[in-house]
């Protein structure tokens, strides 16, 4: 068999393995707040995730994929195409293996940190320090710091707004029925707007600014109408009733909103994390097909499809158990606060996806939860665990790099 065919087959295999791993382990973290707040059952969460991860990956994942494909390594520094091919294969396998190991140990490792660490590691060790686009890498590293901060701030503002608008009044359940549709509109239209403005060009659906605004308003309107209908079906509580009954009703109303934000979160996660699996595949495919190392063509649509598909398969096979475990351990998050964390994280991630920046959705979500905690919305947060999640990049980056270098040498030895 020809070498290029072997490489292509390996690329598909490793890419699928990585996508499967993302679906099996990482999606559960994204959906954790919805399942934990009991806005979705595990079954429904899987369904929502399957649909919207796919949509997010396919429709909006192109820009980040492009970054991973060609934004990190300076292709001009590579003379031998095999170096790039083996390197990308090695990076992909390294990230996938690390994901498998860490998941078995119970650590929520960032798939983004893994693949970026692997690519940079292989490039620096096997080619040289000049092979990396350090300015782009700097922007990526900065986004890793900014994204949890931004989502934290947004979540804080959302929770505070809910406290002021709904809970600080005599009839919170009535105010919830009135105001939650606005939040639904906000969620749906914001996600759509960012996606339309930035994300769709790799599927050939570029929109002008005006079309984007109009489209997002339409989608926002439709989703709000459906949401308002679902809210109206919730039996209202009389004004004289106990405070507790009011609050229970408020939570039921917010649970409708949380279904929307769960979809948004799945969409966002798909849009940003699919690149971790298929960015390297895209690099390999275009190098093999065109024979040249510098890549200027856009990411191929069916590669996005492959990644999206892999994620859904991983989710369907393994993801259910992981999601049940994660959701079971979160007992004290209610929809009126959980939605804020999800919406803040989803907005930040979709913004990053549109800008082509690969960020860690787990870190962003933890930042958002911290934002809710600062607004006094969560009864207890374990700062030690949060710190070790935020510090996990210290291991992930070098381990990813080391594994990539190891696999690269093995590939060079076996096939070079």
């Amino acid at each position: 068999m020809e070498l290029s065919t072997i490489i292509l087959l390996l690329a598909f295999a490793f890419g699928l393995y990585m996508a499967w791993g993302i679906g099996a382990n990482d999606v559960a973290n994204a959906m954790a707040t919805s399942v934990g707040a009991k806005a979705l059952t595990v079954k429904r969460a899987i369904l929502v995730a399957a649909i919207f991860e796919f949509l997010g990956a396919f429709l909006a994942g192109g820009e980040v994929t492009s970054t991973i494909r060609k934004g990190i390594i300076d292709a001009g520094m590579i003379t031998d195409a095999n170096v790039l091919l083996f390197g990308m294969l090695a990076a992909l396998l390294a990230a996938a293996v690390w994901l498998t190991i860490a998941s078995r140990l119970g650590w929520p490792v960032s798939t983004t940190h893994s693949i970026v660490g692997a690519i940079v590691g292989f490039a620096v060790v096997s080619i040289g320090v000049e092979a990396v686009h350090w300015d782009k890498l700097g922007a990526i590293a900065a986004s890793w710091v900014v994204s949890p901060l931004l989502s934290g701030v947004i979540a804080f503002m959302l929770v505070t707004s809910v406290q002021k608008l709904i809970f600080d009044h005599e009839d919170p359940s009535e105010r919830a029925r009135r105001y939650v549709p606005y939040y639904i509109f906000l969620a749906a239209s914001m996600i759509s707007l960012v996606t339309f403005l930035k994300g769709l060009k790799h599927v050939g659906l570029e929109m002008s600014g005006q079309e984007a605004v109009l489209g997002s308003l339409v989608i926002g309107g439709v989703v709000t109408a459906i949401g308002a209908f679902a809210i109206r079906r919730i039996k209202p509580v009389g004004p004289g009733e106990l405070r507790e009954h009011h609050f229970a009703n408020v939570e039921r109303t917010f649970a409708v909103l949380m279904v929307v934000t769960a979809c948004a979160m799945a969409f966002a996660h798909g849009s940003n994390d699919v690149a971790n699996a298929i960015g390297p595949v895209a690099a390999i495919v275009s190098t093999v097909n065109t024979g040249e190392i510098g890549q200027s063509a856009p990411v191929s649509v069916w590669i996005l499809f492959l990644g999206a598909f892999g994620i859904v398969i991983g989710l369907a096979t393994f993801g259910r158990r992981v999601m049940a475990t994660v959701g079971k351990n979160i007992t004290e998050l209610t929809p009126s606060r959980g939605f804020a964390a999800e919406l803040a994280a989803a907005t930040t991630v979709v913004l990053a996806s549109g800008t082509g920046l690969p960020i860690s959705t787990t870190h962003t979500l933890v930042g958002a939860v911290l934002g809710v905690g600062f607004a006094r919305g969560i009864s207890a947060l374990n700062l030690r665990v949060i710190r070790s999640i935020f510090m996990s990049w210290i291991i992930t980056l070098p381990v990813g790099a080391a594994l990539a270098v190891l696999f690269y040498s093995m590939l060079q030895f076996a096939l070079g």
């Binding site: 406290q163 004290e332 911290l370 374990n382 700062l383 665990v385």
Partner: protein, 226 residues
């Protein structure tokens, strides 16, 4: 870095339900006095002893709950209220059960039967003190709703009103104590001198019960303030 850091691990177990359970135990302990003092006043010492045992049991239960809560609140927890405030609230709340038991122990040990002239007044005082403790239990019970609303706005105002009510109840017990002391002063020469001293002491302790409850309420006030 072998700390398991699964995402759901960032959520710690809420201390508030356990705190509310502890408050319920302490209020229950104070309520035992409502049966104990009349039994002592009618010299039914067997029943007093039984009630004292019940109180001891409750006080141990409160201690166990207190230790449980403290062990589940490591320093690395980020709470919507200051951790130190919460632990202090717990200590002060526990004092209520301790004080109730001390009162019962003294009355049993010294076979304290209040003079006829003040018996109804003493019972009224005990009722007032227990009412303060029960009110504080309701106050702590509001933490759920405070959490829902972010410790602000309407719920916070409601809690502030309840704190004022606790202060009024406590002032009431102070007033009642003054009245009983006056009556006791009138008949104290008829009593054995050591016994008389201890009557005054128990009155102080019952008033102290209400004071302790008020301190818990003030802690809640400090916790809510941002």
């Amino acid at each position: 870095m072998a700390v398991p850091a699964y995402f759901s691990g960032i959520f710690g177990k809420s201390p508030f339900p356990s705190l509310q359970k502890h408050a319920a135990i302490c209020a229950e302990a104070s309520e035992v006095l409502l049966q104990l003092v009349p039994a002592a006043n009618s010299a039914q010492w067997d029943e007093v002893e039984q009630l004292y045992d019940t109180l001891t049991r409750l006080e141990h239960k409160a201690d166990k709950q207190k230790r449980n809560i403290r062990s589940k609140l490591p320093r690395g927890f980020f709470l919507p209220v200051a951790r130190a405030d919460l632990l202090d609230l717990l200590s002060r709340q526990d004092e209520i059960a301790n004080d109730a038991r001390d009162i019962a122990g003294l009355m049993l040990g010294r076979r304290m039967q209040f003079p006829q002239a003040v018996q109804s007044g003493v019972f009224e005082l005990v009722e007032a003190a227990v009412a303060t403790c029960v009110r504080v239990r309701e106050l702590v019970g509001l933490f759920d709703e405070l959490l829902d609303t972010g410790f602000s706005g309407l719920e916070a105002k409601r809690v502030a009103a309840m704190i004022e009510e606790v202060e009024r109840l406590e002032a009431n017990t102070d007033r009642l104590v003054v009245g009983i002391r006056k009556k006791l002063f009138e008949v104290e020469t008829e009593l054995a001198p050591v016994q008389a001293i201890f009557f005054y002491r128990v009155l102080d302790m019952i008033a102290e019960l209400a004071d302790g409850a008020e301190r818990v309420a003030h802690r809640v006030q400090m916790m809510i303030a941002k």
